[in-house]
Symmetry: C2
Subunit: 130 residues, 2 copies
Amino acid sequence: MTTYTMTPIGFMRCELTTRAETPRNYDISEIVGVIEILPEYEDALDGVEAGQTVVALFWLHQAERDILKVYPRGDRSRGLTGVFATRSPVRPNPIAVSELQVLGRDRLRLRVKGVDVVDGTPLVDLKKKI
Amino acid sequence: MTTYTMTPIGFMRCELTTRAETPRNYDISEIVGVIEILPEYEDALDGVEAGQTVVALFWLHQAERDILKVYPRGDRSRGLTGVFATRSPVRPNPIAVSELQVLGRDRLRLRVKGVDVVDGTPLVDLKKKI
């Protein structure tokens, strides 16, 4: 089987230390954190500025990859659902997509609001929001 | 350096054969294609149905990974911009995020509208849209 290999472009630094305390998604999170971009990618950040909303792709390093059905949001009354029909962190390739508001930038550090991943989560991509 | 490894969960089948003819983003694409999910992930599709909008993450297997600045949309009048401030396919970890309308589903095949990747592009994740 073909494989695709990624390396981190940065890491999230924030107050969240466990998955249990992490907001379910960025759209209900008021948490502020700092994305630290690795120095070799400084040029790729040119144009990212305070006031923008960015799309951040994180590698969910703590997520199970071999579970195909879940109870969405832990609610057993709704039955098991396929992970591709949910936002569960559990999935074959555990990438999270978060839309974050950039509050400020200091060279390699982006202060962002809407954090929904734990401290230390690797960032694998950053994009302009459409 | 830590690396993260993914394998495809499926592939896009569509009429687009070259990057030059591919719409810039899903939001301006009326193109219909078929996502073929690999059989081992059928359970993960449970709950994905016609009428939904899904978030599809593609691995842009043809994209350059060592370019950090681009002319957005090829427009040289606006100067070079860091790839993290753009939607360019060129980026260190070339993942595309597309929002696609599910027109129909036949077991492992999803007929979708809004295609902005070429035929044969690997799919690495599928999520519910928030």
